[in-house]
Amino acid sequence: MKPIEARIENFFHVLGRRDPAARSQIQPLAQAVARKSGAQAAYNLLLRSEVVAGWRQPSLALYDHTLHLIGGGEKYGCTMAAALQDKFDVTLIAHRPVTLANLMEWYDLDLSRCRVKILPLDFFDKKDQGLINPDLVSDRSENPFLAVSRESGNYDFFINNSMLEMVFPLSNISLFVCHFPERRKGSYFYVQHYRHLIYNSRYTAEWIEKKWRLSPSHHIYPPVDMEPTVGQILPKENIILSVARFESGGSKQQAEMIAAFARLRAKAPREMQSWKLILCGGSASPNPYLEKIRGLLKTQPNLPVELKINIPLNELKKLYARSALFWHFCGLQQSNPAHVEHFGMSTVEAMQNQCLPIVFDGGGQREIVENGISGYRFSNIRQLLDLTLQAIRDPGQRERTSRAAQLRGGNFTRAIFTEKVRDLFGHLAEEYASAAPLAAPAQR
């Protein structure tokens, strides 16, 4: 008897040629596979045989436990789904109610050929105001994400876009999208079982290796689509802009920005007279950090700082178009690598609008801003103040660097993301529909 892998390969060859011999092989082969590797492996063999025979296109599930919330990671996943919906039968798996119409509106995407499946998780409904918080899971409890693992086994391809390492993949082809390895290897850690590991920045890749001792396989930067159309280009005003969520822990450091802006005005009162700082970002309510910021501003009523909370997209676009400078502090004086920007989508958005970035020198920002060419990076507040004053004092240089920033920002567009995703999945689908054995996962 030939080894089972050779029998599978032969079966797919025969099936691909529409040879009647395939019929006599299928049942004993499926039973042999089930005996050796379990019922799921036999089911997977049958799933793949339908694609090899050309009877249907491959099915693909994209899972995100926070799909019902607006966020950068969710946008990444949905843009992936939009790119793949013509070649795959795409299902988006969520835990809380969300519709395709919501997703299409939030991310300005066409997802009309996808479907959404809601998979309730009782475990979290009883705890912590129903938040799906993976930190509540430990070896003392059963794995609540087992339901997602089981569901993953019903598709040819499964993408885990959740950074949830507790989902064991059961599909033929599995991909784990890592936006950052936030948790260490602990209870129910299954990332090593995924066939492919996609990462959003080299910074993330570095920490995947350090924290999980795994080698990520495919690098795809997030899609950023804030490029202005012809009618959206506006003259620049003396505005320093910050676009970052008002995190309850203050990790985006808006309070530090206010303090730095006050110091800047004290240092160069004449030059700074016409400049203002606009802090823009999303916030949940209630948010104690946002209240702290409001309190800070009340104590300094003469400081020209404006808050823009949860503004609509078109207003944000106008702000980017009008602002001359962009500040991003995330990561400054942080010891936890998870609190440093993993990529920095808002920095790219600013750059695409010729808004000169002056950002913290760390994390994914180093991959976006080429210091002194397409923006500036600082390590401490003193450097930030010097670089900002330099940019304010020399409008000619500022304009040249802003134009270089816009060119650089063009490297992270949705079109480039879509092309990379289609390229990767095109290869995977081709391999999957052939009789050849699937490539083994990268050595980890």
């Binding site: 019929r23 019922a39 049958l46 086994g153 059961l170 260490r184």
Partner: protein
């Protein structure tokens, strides 16, 4: 040929779908052992990760304060099973006052210990916040001093030139 094999595959798919849906866990589904837990090396954790770990462990300790046994009494015997369960529960009930006296002291100790740990944890957090503020102030003072010495240097140079 297509129709026959398509039907055969559909039939087999249904058969294995039922089998996989009835599988108890991942091992049964995949037909092999799986490592579910990796020990956490506390020395490898950053300060904020340790902070999270401390909070999590403290909440586990809090859940386990009451150490009185609450065994789940069951029996797999078909006919005499219910009688065995009833008898075991009765024995357990009879001895409960004696076992409870033994555990009362332990429970009180656990309670105090968890409260003590929580107090230490809160103090540690407050101290860390103070240290962070002091470090920030120190940095600001240093930078302001540097600014001042720069300004003073340029004034001295100007005087000398005059």
């Amino acid at each position: 040929m297509d129709k026959h094999i398509k039907d055969e595959i559909a039939k087999l798919k249904e058969y294995f779908r039922v089998r996989k849906d009835s599988a108890a866990g991942l091992e049964e589904l995949t037909g092999g052992p799986i490592q579910h837990h990796f020990p956490v090396d506390l020395w490898q954790l950053s300060d904020s990760e340790l902070d999270g770990e401390m909070g999590k462990r403290l909440s586990f300790l809090n859940d386990d304060i009451d150490c009185r046994p609450t065994p789940d009494i069951t029996s797999h015997r078909r006919f005499i099973g219910p009688a065995i369960v009833w008898f075991k529960k009765l024995i357990f009930k009879i001895f409960r006052p004696y076992t409870n006296t033994l555990f009362v002291h332990q429970n009180r100790f656990n309670d105090q210990l968890v409260a003590f740990h929580l107090a230490t944890f809160i103090r540690l957090r407050r101290l860390e916040e103070k240290v962070r503020n002091l470090e920030r102030q120190e940095q600001e003072i240093k930078e302001q001093l540097e600014d001042l010495s720069g300004v003073q240097g340029s004034h001295t140079a100007k005087h000398e030139a005059d």
